[in-house]
């Protein structure tokens, strides 16, 4: 390989490490899973009015997509998005009834009663503050009859319909028939599982994507993956860039927009730098302009791939700051990525990634890189190339174990 190709690979591995630094730890991961499974058991236990409807808590959102990103400040909550899925509801129940039954059941448990935060529009939220702070947003939802049969089918870009059919019914306190509609099919719909299937399909590391069995995308316990796919790393990196740039600003670009545009733009690149460069260059192509006949004006449209009627950018026309912030962010991230890609040495690379991603994170990235190399050497996996002295997992001679001796004078 030529030197500049090797340099690109090295920048890419630093970025990949940057993404890994944004992952939650395996202990935090396990804690979240244990916690939501315990809640699920409590809702489904005998004696619960909900038990006939087989409640099951499943991850959704970034936790399911593998794109969860640590908050910039360690004292801020980790945010776990969950669905509480019911196979059906009692005849005559409205959205309100289901939501209240879930709330009542949670309040009947001493610990959950304490953790329960004020009712959300669609969710119940449980806040955990022992050790690492996190909260779980639990979205009550009802699946249709054909749901499990559907999961056996395959989807692809040519056939998004199947993923679209995965939509389930949710409750929303602002829905017109929140307290009156008893036909579940009239409840608001949401398609987080279809979205996850689509994202998983798009994240394949190839330009010729295989059709994907929907079931593969929604596991009750998503695997904790250490080696994530380039698209997952790209989304994490973009979200962190956004978090640092907007520092809590409520009008920052939302994660679902970043995730959707990145997934459309991703072209199966097998390394993070190539994927990131391509994605930031192409993502704006998937922001559409549509003519709104009622308002007689054009509006921005970022469609939900698994629910064509939903526009993720629907707030932009109501709040131009959101729209402006998106373009501002996109321009900045393009500049920052271009700068990162052209750095000729590690010191300038550090400068180029510290500002957009944060000094502490970058410090931990280089720390981890050093520890991994040391572990590689200790396990006999570090080699040196002849001619240059380059170190790596391949090379002419194995680097034998040894102990650096010596004081700091």
């Amino acid at each position: 390989m030529k030197m500049n190709e090797l340099q690109r690979k090295q920048i890419s591995s630093v970025l990949s490490e940057l993404g890994e630094g944004l992952d939650i730890t395996s202990a935090e991961y396990q804690k979240a899973i244990d916690s939501y499974q315990a809640v699920g058991k409590w809702l489904a236990a005998e004696g619960s009015t909900l038990s006939p409807y087989a409640p099951e808590i499943l991850p959704q959102g970034s936790f399911l997509l593998g794109t969860m990103t640590r908050p910039v400040h360690d004292e801020d909550d980790l945010d776990i998005d969950l669905v509480c899925r019911f196979s059906g509801v009692r005849a005559g129940w409205t959205q309100y009834n289901l939501k209240q039954e879930v709330g009542t059941r949670l309040k009947a448990h001493g610990m959950y009663a304490e953790k329960l935060r004020p009712e959300g529009r669609r969710n119940w939220t449980l806040g955990y503050s022992e050790g690492r702070r996190f909260h779980m947003d639990i979205l009550p939802a009802v699946i249709g009859q054909g749901f499990f049969t559907l999961l056996e089918k395959r989807m692809s870009d040519e056939d998004l319909q199947i993923a679209q059919d995965m939509a389930i019914r949710i409750t929303d306190t602002r829905h017109l028939q929140y307290k009156t509609g008893t036909d579940v099919l009239s409840w608001p719909s949401s398609n987080m599982f279809g979205f996850a299937a689509w994202f998983k399909y798009r994240s394949q590391v190839t330009m010729l994507r295989k059709a994907l069995v929907l079931n593969e995308a929604i596991r009750p316990v998503p695997r904790m993956e250490k080696n994530k796919l380039p698209l997952q790393r790209v989304v994490q990196i973009l979200k962190r860039h956004r978090d640092i740039m907007f520092n809590g600003d409520e009008h920052k670009p939302i994660s679902i927009i970043i995730t959707t545009l990145a997934a459309w733009a991703y072209n199966g690149e097998d390394d993070v730098l190539a994927a990131l460069t391509n994605v930031v260059g192409k993502m704006e192509r998937y922001v559409e302009r549509k003519y709104d006949a009622i308002r007689q004006s054009y509006l921005y449209w970022i469609g939900n791939p698994v629910n064509p009627a939903e526009n993720f950018a629907d707030k932009w026309s109501l709040c131009t700051e959101k729209e402006k912030n998106f373009w501002k962010w996109l321009n900045q991230v393009k500049k920052d990525v271009a700068l990162i890609a052209e750095q000729p040495d590690l010191f300038q690379l550090r400068e180029a990634i510290e500002k957009p991603f944060g000094e502490d994170l970058v410090q931990s990235v280089f720390n981890n890189i050093g520890q991994q190399t040391r572990e590689l050497r200790e396990s006999g996996g570090l080699f040196m190339a002849g001619g240059s002295g380059l170190l790596g997992s391949i090379g002419r001679t194995q680097v034998p174990n040894h102990n650096y001796f010596g004081r700091h004078e």
Binding site: Q343, L346, R377, G386, G387, Y404, G406
Partner: protein
């Protein structure tokens, strides 16, 4: 004890690994190797000099560039001497290196690795991630390995 490798052979292997390096040898008495090592594609090349004599043992030096210090540090890590940039690569009492080992397969990779951790030491603002033993905390090692002749010959780490 492994058989001593002749300096003639050491020279041959060094030249084979680093065809562009310069080597001078005085019989079986001494050998000096000088070449460029670049631990990673995003590192600059460092000019490194290895000096070995039967009487004085091994010394390895970074000739250029002048090594800068991490923020807040006053000296380089794991060196005998910051001024002449003489590196400590192995623990002498354990005989991690002895004349029965090829320099090209031990000292040189360790030097490249030292440079690698030196860069990370700068990048992490003063963390040495390469492991090792501090001079200031000598570990009392079993003396059975400490062949006196070897120690005299290789008193430099």
């Amino acid at each position: 004890m492994s058989k001593r490798i002749s300096l003639l052979h050491q020279e041959g292997v060094l030249r084979s690994y680093f065809p562009d390096s310069s080597i001078s040898r005085t019989g079986e008495q001494s050998l000096v190797w000088e070449g460029d090592l670049q631990p990673t594609p995003l590192s600059c090349p460092y000019r490194v000099k290895l000096v070995y004599t039967r009487t004085e043992g091994m010394g390895i030096y970074v000739m250029s560039p002048k090594l800068i210090l991490a923020e807040g540090a006053t000296t380089l890590p794991h060196v005998y001497n910051s001024a002449d940039q003489k590196l400590c690569l192995y623990y002498p009492t354990d005989r991690e290196w002895h004349p029965g080992l090829y320099m090209a397969k031990t000292i040189i990779p360790w030097a490249s690795e030292w440079l690698y951790y030196y860069e990370l030491w700068l990048l992490t603002r003063g963390r040495w991630l390469g492991g090792g033993i501090e001079h200031d905390q000598p570990q009392k090692k079993d003396n059975e390995n400490n062949d006196l002749q070897f120690l005299n010959e290789h008193k430099n780490g």
